[in-house]
Structure formats: structure tokens, C-alpha cells
Symmetry: C2
Subunit: 409 residues, 2 copies
Amino acid sequence: MAVNLIVPDISDLHPVAGVRLGFAKAHIRKPDRKDVLVVAIDEGASVSGVFTQNRFCAAPVQVCREHLQAGKGIRALVINTGCANAGTGQPGLADARATCAHLASAIGVSPQQTLVFSTGVILERLPMERLLKGVEAAVAAVGQAHWLDAAQAIMTTDTLPKVCSRQIAVGGRTITVTGVSKGAGMIRPNMATMLGFVATDAAVSQALLDNWMQRITDASFNRVTVDGDTSTNDSFVAIATGKAGGALIDSDSHPDAAAVFNLMRDVSVHLAQAIVRDGEGATKFISVRVEQAGNEAEALKVAYAVAHSPLVKTAFFASDPNLGRILAAIGYAGIDDLDVSRVQLYLDDVWVAKNGGRHPDYREEDGQRVMKQQDITVRVQLARGDVATTVWTCDFSHEYVSINADYRS
Amino acid sequence: MAVNLIVPDISDLHPVAGVRLGFAKAHIRKPDRKDVLVVAIDEGASVSGVFTQNRFCAAPVQVCREHLQAGKGIRALVINTGCANAGTGQPGLADARATCAHLASAIGVSPQQTLVFSTGVILERLPMERLLKGVEAAVAAVGQAHWLDAAQAIMTTDTLPKVCSRQIAVGGRTITVTGVSKGAGMIRPNMATMLGFVATDAAVSQALLDNWMQRITDASFNRVTVDGDTSTNDSFVAIATGKAGGALIDSDSHPDAAAVFNLMRDVSVHLAQAIVRDGEGATKFISVRVEQAGNEAEALKVAYAVAHSPLVKTAFFASDPNLGRILAAIGYAGIDDLDVSRVQLYLDDVWVAKNGGRHPDYREEDGQRVMKQQDITVRVQLARGDVATTVWTCDFSHEYVSINADYRS
């Protein structure tokens, strides 16, 4: 069902110097599938993370925050699929700590130098015996796995692995950024989680990477929505190993900063969009672009009002250019002094609403033509300023209801 | 498909002295159906209205606001179904004014003493010739229609008419409150509108009725949601004719004030809930009650987060006691300092989550038993204060997607 989501050839997935991967089949939930991934990181890397804002955050998220806070240098990550270790209280927290301790011991670092991520069913305890054996096996196999294995090992009900790799030449060196993600976070708090991991061999200081991560997240994983539900385990981590050499990038004024930042952002945007393209029951990939907003906050209000409206999303499913539903969503987005008589609405290149009403030259068949596409851009102009933003979403189909109504059965 | 929605016998629908009804079949959109309703109001009544917050509000809403503002005493309402006169710009505004002028002329009052309401398809002009003939016919028939006719005349895709009538004895007099509503507003901005009209023969001052209307709306029509979409035409009007006699109720300290207020509120709650019970594709009626909140705003945030979550709503459709989805929705509702370890969750009488985690004694079959009911109460306790509120919603079914995907075809 995924919408225009292409899985790259392994030959196009560039390893990142300083990062080695290993997986195991630990039978966390299902037999004979990759379900434990270990990411080993050479000493000296910067590692930064952004986590769910959900107050019911899962045990591994709490442990990650503590370990990053400790600032001892992260040397390894472990990710399991099949069980999210969420809603498990103090015993779940102990399980997450035990997993870190086991990983740390296996590779000879302190537990605070490790991070742990879990995804899968919630309200169930991890099968710790099988998981810890899996961690050992994955550590023993470190260096043997490639990034496609990594993408597969973190899948839950994703229909396709999500992986992206790009290179650029900067200052005479080749810089690589490679990453993986899994869905579908906001659409499956039960299969709990959006996860994203991006690694580069560029040398980026810890402070700058922390700063970049918030900006990159806001441009990527914070701009995708399937149904507005934020999960308990959402996590996004970036690793900069510095193995490509070159002077440390420690501020945005460094000559290589912009190029590396843009590359990391682009890979992250691709990975975030991949989650929407593989959204539950998705048949359309929709970019909602709001232009001429007075500020970012109101741009986002309008974009999310359109992107979350079940009426708009079912109209996309039906390929119905039902512009009244889009205008109504703009109208209730919460901008109290919006002058609707200055609002323009486009579907791709088709100008459908002019100054708040149907464009006199708009023909239904032109709207219909755009709505039948798999990739569609809704563009709204508010005439209030010069701020623009885009969020990405998918349509709402029968399949979505089926998947979520039948999920646990 | 309506969930436990009962249409009363005509004999249980009490006329309201000082209010007379007339309808016509004007062929606004479909032949041979009641589609124009006129409500004639005797001189001296108080009339108050609350309207959509949507910035794209329809022409009739703008005219109603102006005419109520003028304060000349409202003497008649006209409501048409079949066409919402929304997204029609200046010509639509002229149509709404012309409708008022025609009504005013037919009954011998000024246009500012009339209100106009339209519901139906948007972005299309009203068939003015047929509408004005219909207005004349409805005025000629005033006094011949009963409240069930009124409920039927304002239906769009509602499957059942929505009408409620109650009486109480106050100070030796019988006070009547009778009203009608139609859906499904938030769920059909295209068939544009939630409408509610409630009339009483009690004597209530204009100022007090205006005050009550906000409180009644907050307890009724502002507490129902099907999919979170607010329409362009939502309107709720109350009429107090004073024909029952007795001293004018002009403050909450009047001895009859509480009884009359409560009766008007109860009828309005019934009419609001009827919209949810007849929500598109609804198979369950769900009350989301939030208790122990620190204030009303945070209680509503949590209640609406649960009521709007597509994951929660599909779980209700599936009769799946998927408490993780409810907890996740509470967690992302936007209370930054929520201590989840103090949150309790109940499904009717079943305590499912204790102190933020699964209750040790909770058995899936108990949750399942409640979820299979048609009427379900989700009760959340936040341990932050003593404020409680309830919102009402329905589940999310295949039928919802079908109705909204196929709506215009």
C-alpha cells in the first residue's frame, strides 16, 4: 500500500565510518525475524536525541534522557522490536536499565554510555531472557550487518524498510549521511513508535549537534502526521562520528556547516516522509503548504487543521476536490483575526479558491485531475506575512479503519 | 444506524405558546420534501443566538449576527435545507438579506426583526425564486405545523428527526421547553451544519437569556464532537416568549431561574447528544468524562484528545478495550506537568488503569464487556483538582469513511 516509497539498492547505502551494526533474531514476539539491533559507535562521536512529548513516555525514553544527560559519550545503541516496554511502570524501567547494563558489559563501556529503544506492543513486559541473549548475539555480530538490515530489524507493522543514504563533497572530503526510520509513531501508539536514526561521518561538536537536532526534527519528524496521535516511544537520534576528518564543525559559521546540516536534514526529511508514505492504509501522500503566515505558530495551526481533518482526508481518499472542506478547516484552525477574503487555495498548480471563495475560472475537472494523483500539494496563502511551512500527511481510507479496528485481534 | 436515538410521539411534543410553525416544500434541492421552515414569534419574546467560530462563516450567520445586534426584537426565523449559502461571497449575502426582507414583508415586521438559517451543500447559490415562494407558502401555513414537522424540515443527511420536549411545574405554572436540532455540524461541513432551536414559554429577560445561552451552549452543543470539524453555519437559538406568565426572570436569583435554566439546558443537552447518536456511521455513543482536573481548560484538553483520537475511536468501533490508546491520548493532550503516575482510568464501572498503569486486578473480559455496549462512559481522573467535565462523541467506522468519501458522488 505504500505510496511512492522506494527501497534503495544495498549498493546505494553507504556505510558510515565509526558506526558498526549487528542484529540478532531473538524471538521477542515473532520467531525467525530480525528483532534486535545493536549500533556500535567509535569513541569520540557526538550523539544527540529528541524524544516524545507524550507524558506517558515509555521506560526506554526515560533511560535515554538520563544517559544523554550524563554526558559521558554514547558508545552503543540497542533497539528491539516486538515489545515497546511502555506502560510497564518500575519493572519496565528496571528492564530497560538491565538491557543497557548487559549491552555495556558486552562491549566494555559504562551503562550510561548506552541508549535503549523499544517498539512493539505496549503494556507487556519484555521477555528479558531472550532479549539479553539477543543483545549478546547482536554484539557478537557487530560489523556484519548493513543499513538495510538495520531498517528491517526495527520494523513493526511497516510494510517496507525505510532507509536513506546520501553523500556530498565538502572541502575536498566525502561526507556521508545514512539513516533508518520506522513508522508509524503517531498512527500506532499501540505498536508504539516512530523511530529514526541518522549517522554521519562528519565532525560536529556535541553542542552544535544538539542545536541542529531540534531544527532538523522541526523540519522532518515534527512535520509528519498520519492521524495526530503522538506515541509513547517516539525517538530520533543523530550520530556524528567525525571519521571523515576535517576541522570540527562547532558553529553555523564554519564553512562546511551549512552543507552538512542540509544533508542531515534532507536525509531526515526523506525518512520522515517515508513513514507517511507507508502510513496505515495510505493511498495518497499529501503535502500541506501554508504560505504568507504571520508567524510559524499560525502557519502550523492551519497546516495541521487541514492535515488532521478526517473530512479532508476522506475526500483525498475519494479523489474528491472538495475544497469546501479544506476552507472550513482553515476557518476553524484558530486564527481569530483571519481575513478569509484574502485567502487563496491551490491544489498543485490549480487555483481553486480566490479571495476566500471559489475561483471564477476554477473547473471541477482540473481539481479532479490533481486529486487523482498519488502525490498532491495543498497550498494555502494567508496574506498575513511571509512565513511558510509544510507538513506531510496521508489520506484516510477504509484500510485505516480495518487495520486499527482489527489490530489486536 | 443511530445509537439509542428515540423519536418521541407527537403527543409528547408540547407546543410553546407564542411560537407558531409553518413549513413548505420549496424544492430547494430535492422535490417533495419539507425544506423551508418558518418560526413566527409573538411580540415581546427574548431571542438569543450563538454561532460558529469558523472564520469562514456563511452568509446567513453574518446576517443573524447583525440582526440580533440591532436589538429590535426578533419576530420570525426562516430555515431552509438543501443549500447552505456558504462560500457564496457578496451575492450570497444579498440572497440572505433578500430572504429576510421577503419574510419580514410577509408577516409585517422589519427585516432586522428576522433571522435566516441555511443548511445543505456549500459553494452553491440558493435557488432564490423557489425559496421566496417557499417562504410565502410557509408563512401562509404558520400555525399548522408541529415540532416534529420542524425537526423534519431542517434535516439534511440526518437519518432521524431530532426533537425534545419537557415540562415542569414552577410557581404554580407549567413551563414548557421544546426544541429541535439537526446534525451533523462538525461532521459534515459540506452538508454544512449543526442547527439547534429551543423555545420556552417562560418569561426570561433578554440580558439573562444571552447569559444563559453561553452557559447552555457550553454544556450542550459545545460538548459534542464527531470528528472535530467545525462547520461554517453552526447556529443555536433560544426563544423565551413569556406566554406562561409570571414575573420576568431577569437574574439567577429569581426563585424560578434555576428550574427554567436547568430545563432549557437539559433539552439542549438531549438535542446535542442526538446529533452524536445520529453521527455518520456511529455504532457507539461515548461519554468522555474527565474528573479531578485543575481547571476547565485542561479538563477539556484531555476530554477532546480522547474524543478526537482516530485510534481510540476505531478501537471503540471494534469493541476493543485498548486502554493503551486512551492513555496515550491523555499523555499528549498538552498538560505539560501531568503526573501520569496519579492518573486513573475507568470504562463505566471497570477500573482499568491505576496510577498510570494497568490495574493489577483488571481483566480484559471486563473491559470487553463494557466495550460491547452501545453507550459507554470513559472516565479519567487526573488528581490535579476538583473540576470535572464531559464531552460526547461516537466511534469511527467503515461507514464514516464510506459516507464521507462518497458524499458528493
